[in-house]
């Protein structure tokens, strides 16, 4: 079953929409742990209070890989806001993550 690990501010800002992020990992590897830590940092810094992270472990739910066309892990998928964005890797490069998520213009 899905492993939901909801994070983020308890009181979302009503004027702005919620950022719905999904992080696909495969087991507790160093890369996936690093990716999650990096993501959390970035979100707290730039999207405080208006984000939600869903971590999906493909080892437990392999059939979910097909839906979001996951080939690499870790993969971060921005489900909302549209359009869909994908960032692969351990998210170590904050600048690129911000650009990739359209939080900051390139």
């Amino acid at each position: 079953m899905m492993t939901y690990r909801k994070r983020g501010g308890a009181k979302p800002d009503s004027t702005e929409e919620i950022w719905n992020l999904r992080l696909y990992v495969a087991g507790q590897t160093s890369k996936s742990i690093a990716a999650f830590a990096n993501l959390k940092n970035i979100c707290e810094k730039h999207l405080a209070g208006k984000y939600r992270i869903e971590v999906i472990d493909l080892l437990k739910n392999p059939q979910l890989a097909k839906g979001d066309q996951i080939i690499a892990v870790p993969t971060l998928v921005r489900k909302l806001p549209e359009p869909l964005k994908k960032i692969i890797g351990d998210l170590a490069n904050t600048e690129r993550v911000l650009v990739g998520l359209d939080i900051r213009a390139a």
Binding site: Q69, I70, A72, T75, I88, A92
Partner: protein
């Protein structure tokens, strides 16, 4: 190099995995290496995906090995359409749990790369698909799409290497496709990872005619055919021509089969052709080649044999109609399934494609008689030497299968009659020549046997007649030191008949005369004999009289003596008494 580190414990005998693709298992001597990946490379449109598809479908249907098709280019709907074009119902196979598909879509614009990653997602998807059907075969078509979707090639290469190891560890017989590069087999050097078996598909167009060819670049641990093999893609999948040239060690038959023309059989020791032999009929246009081949086909069908007729000039219905005019009903054999026509324009595709088609149809129909009418048209699809090479392969193949081959060859006006056929003469066992004989303002057909291996054959030229009862052969008039055909022959024959009749009448008259003379003579003899007999009788009578007279005379003389001496004779007494009694 990681390649060198590959574990090879299972090297004692390389197990092979039959592909079920026509001809391929013969070239590879059993199929692809089981439990290992095979690279299929070639340019766009060379048939890589179809190859992979058929491998998967045949495995699932014929060998009980379910498969996974992981597509990096086409969606599942497109795949299903492609499968249908080869006669496979992908959706049905999927619902029966024999095939699983997964479409991997990679959009470069959507993906941002930051830092370290691996392709575990792909592995998980593949494993999930494999487990869902219990797959033994895997197709990755084409994994190169990863290179255009992801920029970190260092990670990619490491992951690909891991992927192939992973497939091997799971014992998957895998096909990986790759587009050919400028100087390398594949654009991204996939051959570096797939070291066991590499097959190259080629698609060439020469003079607007396309030919597909397949070559096994390498096959580690196995011998394999090293040539380029032509292949064909049609609605039943791929057909690869397994041979380039066979040896000359095929078995021969001593069985003879009729040509369908009694007189022609007579010219061939009264028995006809050898079964499994190769017969060539050459002649200029309109000399009756098609009629001769149809007659042969008809005779074969009458014996209940199957006959395959490749027509390069006429459509089947036209041949059937035309042969009806010389009293042959070929349609009945087509209906009974004994005769199959195959019509195509020679320029439809390249020579080797023709050869592949021949093979494919021969294997499907399994005929005893194979006819090509005419082979000369094939030259329009290639050069003379190519035609020869194709025919050599074909004839060798047919001989091996003991199929009697009947080829016709259109020779050209003006040229030497035997000229165009010289190239293939060595392949031919029995060679019939049809030719025009132009004489006295008309054109007639003549037939003679140029050669016929292994049998005594007639050296006569026969006049070849097409009648509404079929083909007739008539001895050509060769009397009075000239050769006559057609109406000249008929006229000459009539003249001969007339003079013969006169001669016969004369002879009969003489016979009667002689008989009459004989009778007259016999009558004369009889008369003479009668006369003679009469004379003889008279002579006898006279002689008798004379004897009697003599006897009486001598008696009288004795008596006279007695009377003179007064002495009565003792002995003659009785005689006297007898005489007195009137005896």
């Amino acid at each position: 190099m990681g390649k060198a580190k590959k574990v090879k414990h299972d090297v004692d005998v390389l197990e092979k995995c039959p592909t079920g693709i026509k001809g391929l298992d013969e070239i590879t001597k059993g199929g692809l290496p089981r439990g290992r990946p095979t690279l299929i490379c070639g340019s766009a449109g060379s048939g890589k995906t179809l190859f992979a598809m058929e491998f998967l479908m045949r495995g699932a249907m014929d060998y009980g090995e379910p498969g996974v098709f992981m597509s990096f280019e086409e969606t599942q709907e497109d795949l299903a359409k492609n499968f249908i074009s080869l006669g496979f119902d992908l959706n049905d196979m999927m619902s029966r749990g024999l095939i699983a598909t997964d479409h991997v879509r990679i959009e470069r614009g959507e993906i941002e790369e930051t830092g370290e990653y691996d392709l575990e997602g792909l592995f998980i998807r593949l494993e999930n698909a494999i487990d869902s059907v219990g797959a033994k075969r895997v197709v990755l078509d084409t994994i190169e799409a990863l290179f255009s979707g992801l920029s970190n090639t260092a990670i990619l290469r490491a992951e690909l290497r891991r992927l192939f190891h992973w497939l091997k560890d799971r014992g998957m017989t895998a096909i990986v496709t790759g587009e050919s590069g400028d100087k390398t087999l594949t654009r991204y050097g996939l051959e570096e990872y797939v070291a066991d078996c590499v097959i190259f598909l080629d698609f060439r167009i020469v003079e607007q005619i396309s030919t597909r060819r397949l070559r096994i670049v390498k096959y580690r641990g196995s011998s394999h055919g090293a040539d380029e093999y032509p292949f064909l893609i049609d609605d039943t999948g791929l057909s690869i021509l397994p041979i380039t040239s066979l040896g000359l060690d095929y078995p021969v038959s001593t069985e003879r089969i009729s040509t369908g023309i009694p007189k022609l059989d007579t010219m061939l020791e009264g028995k006809g052709f050898y079964r499994g032999g190769t017969v060539l009929v050459s002649g200029t246009a309109g000399t009756g080649k098609t009629s001769l081949s149809a007659t042969f086909a008809n005779a074969a069908c009458l014996r209940g044999e199957r006959c395959l007729y490749f027509a390069f000039e006429e459509s089947p219905s036209q041949i059937i109609r035309n042969m009806g005019s010389i009293g042959m009903d070929l349609a009945q054999w087509v209906k009974k399934g004994l005769l199959r026509f195959h019509s195509a324009r020679p320029s439809l595709y390249g020579l080797e494609m023709h050869l592949v088609t021949f093979h494919k149809v021969i294997n499907e129909f399994d005929p005893q008689i194979f006819i090509i009418d005419p082979i000369s048209n094939l030259t329009s699809a290639g050069t003379t030497s190519e035609v020869k090479s194709i025919l050599t392969r074909l004839v060798d193949y047919l001989k091996m299968k003991k199929i009697t081959t009947f080829l016709t060859d259109l020779t050209h006006f003006g040229g030497s009659l035997e000229h165009t056929s010289e190239e293939i003469s060595s392949l031919i066992d029995t060679w019939l020549l049809l030719r025009d004989i132009e004489l006295n303002g008309e054109r007639n057909r003549g037939l003679y046997i140029l050669k016929s291996r292994g049998m005594a054959h007639s050296n006569q030229i026969q006049e070849f007649l097409l009648t509404n009862q079929g083909i007739g052969l008539v001895d050509i008039y060769t009397g009075s030191g000239e050769v006559l055909t057609g109406s000249a022959r008929a006229a000459q024959e009539a003249r001969e008949k007339a003079s013969e009749l006169t001669c016969r009448r004369e002879a009969e008259r003489r016979l009667r005369e002689q008989e009459r003379k004989r009778k007259a003579l016999e009558e004369k003899i009889a008369a003479l004999r009668a006369e003679f007999d009469a004379e003889t009788e008279e002579v006898h009578l006279i002689a008798e009289e004379e004897q009697k007279r003599q006897a009486i005379l001598s008696e009288d003389r004795l008596e006279m003596g007695y009377l003179r001496k007064g002495k009565h004779p003792t002995v003659p007494q009785s005689a006297r008494e007898k005489r007195a009694k009137g005896e």
